[in-house]
């Protein structure tokens, strides 16, 4: 199916996006040859790898806390992609045109894919897929807070993609240089695809802003509601962040929450001007001394409440996720029964058991 692009004017490229994509390309360059790692002591070798900004790979020795921290980060990220399909999936059947519907379907399919890349990266650390899903379903493992806000109008699909996918890219581009190889490689794929998500949201809002007064008001209303949830995506301020310092020392996090939030605001302001929308912050202004925009911080108490489960749609999102998993149970059973019946016995003997450690995982 080939769908015509815009019939009228093309939305301009959102200012600032190209620089981020250049960083993704730079992260794909192989690390320069560093000093030879220490030979005998695995911990010294691990520390030398980190210090030289080289990659830790599955099967390498790593401190337990590095493994645990990475698993938490990967699981939270993967869950966010999986539950993050819901706010937009809500609008697929109601999209205003076939073209917008096809775009939204592709975006939601990408998010399923991102979740799978990231679960696979988590499994290289010895986690099991079923356990990761259990932890999501019974609320032990979180996902990004903004997903717990509802998408009330069509314009929300545009504002959500422009703002929260834009924030996700700012957050994720540095993760293409994560010290853990499988995470960094997954993030390069994710960021390249995420830029389409961001771009289509900008394009959707741009179209609305050139529509009727009602459409412009709908776009502005959506931006008003998504701005602060997007700012809150970067997490609490660095001083209040539980895991930041150690994660930065290990290069599984590369900038503080505040640095990334500032970078996002600086990128967003010219894009909002290009769109013709107002960002809902009367104190947002350029600070020539700092070389950055001053802005009002999001309500971190609200962030804490939403993360703890008291957002507008937490229960709905999790209940939907559990139901989808339960509804798929018969499909998984049928596929397994079919495989058992049709796979030659020798093949089954080799592949029938799940991997038990990261050594079984060749990634």
């Amino acid at each position: 199916m080939r769908l015509a692009a815009h019939s009228g004017d093309q939305a301009p490229e959102p200012p600032g996006l190209d620089r981020l994509l250049d960083e993704v390309d730079q992260a794909r360059q192989p690390a320069p040859p560093g000093p030879p790692p220490a030979r005998d002591d695995p911990q010294a070798r691990f520390e030398a790898l980190i210090a030289a900004d080289r990659k830790v790979e599955p099967g390498d020795w790593m401190p337990d806390a590095y493994r645990t921290g990475l698993l938490r980060q990967l699981a939270q990220h993967a869950n966010s992609e999986i539950v993050g399909m819901q706010p937009e999936a809500h609008w697929i059947a109601r999209a205003p045109s076939l073209r917008r519907k096809a775009i939204l379907l592709a975006k939601v399919q990408d998010e399923a894919g991102h979740g799978l890349y990231l679960y696979a990266a988590a499994e290289t650390l010895g986690a099991h897929r079923a356990d990761l899903l259990d932890a999501l379903h019974d609320g032990r493992q979180k996902y990004l807070s903004f997903i717990n806000y509802p998408t009330l109008t069509w314009a929300d699909t545009g504002a959500l993609a422009w703002l929260t996918d834009g924030a996700a890219i700012v957050n994720q581009v540095p993760l293409c240089r994560s010290s853990y190889g499988p995470y960094a490689r997954a993030m390069v794929r994710v960021c390249k695809e995420e830029s389409f998500h961001h771009r289509q949201g900008f394009d959707s809002l741009w179209t609305l802003m050139r529509g009727t007064p009602g459409q412009r008001a709908m776009a502005q209303d959506a931006v008003d509601r998504w701005w602060y949830p997007a700012l809150a995506m970067f997490g609490p301020p660095h001083t209040a962040s539980t895991h930041s310092a150690q994660s930065m020392a290990w290069r599984i996090k590369r900038f503080t929450n505040d640095q990334l939030r500032q970078r996002f605001v600086d990128i967003c302001v010219p894009q909002a001007q290009a769109l013709g929308v107002q960002l809902p912050d009367p104190d947002l202004r350029w600070n020539a001394e700092r070389g950055h925009y001053d802005f009002t911080e999001p309500d971190y108490d609200e962030l804490t409440r939403v993360v703890r489960g008291d957002g507008p749609a937490n229960r709905q999102r999790l209940a939907h996720r559990r139901r989808a998993h339960q509804d798929g149970a018969w499909v998984r059973r049928a596929a397994a029964a079919y495989a058992a019946k049709h796979t030659p016995p020798t093949r089954l003997a080799r592949t029938g058991t799940p991997p038990t450690s990261e050594k079984d995982h060749a990634a």
Partner: protein, 99 residues
């Protein structure tokens, strides 16, 4: 994470993608699938949504024999001190060309 005993995951498959004719298949990632046919279909949906490949391999992860990263030095050392295998080891008299 391993709260429960071995989880009933489907077998793990490693996915290799040939980007263009003339290039080798390269490791793209991994996925779970109950059998080879499903693994191939899922690999197509997961790793070639944007025409990234013209050919796919799926390989049961269990069948891959890998060198142990912990033994890397002992295993790969024999190559380290034999730089006479590289042309740069040899000094050339001045003026000699095409060698």
């Amino acid at each position: 994470m391993s709260r429960t005993a071995p989880a009933p995951d489907w077998p793990l498959w490693e996915v290799f993608v040939r980007a263009r004719r003339g290039l080798a298949h390269l490791h793209a990632g991994s996925l779970h699938a109950p059998d080879a046919a499903m693994a191939l279909r899922n690999a197509r949906d997961l790793y070639t949504r944007r025409s990234e490949g013209v050919s796919l391999w799926v390989v049961p992860a269990e069948t891959i024999t890998a060198s142990d990263p912990q033994d890397r030095d002992a295993f790969l050392d024999p190559a380290a001190d034999k730089d006479y295998r590289l042309p740069g080891h040899f000094e050339l008299p001045e003026g000699v060309q095409h060698l």
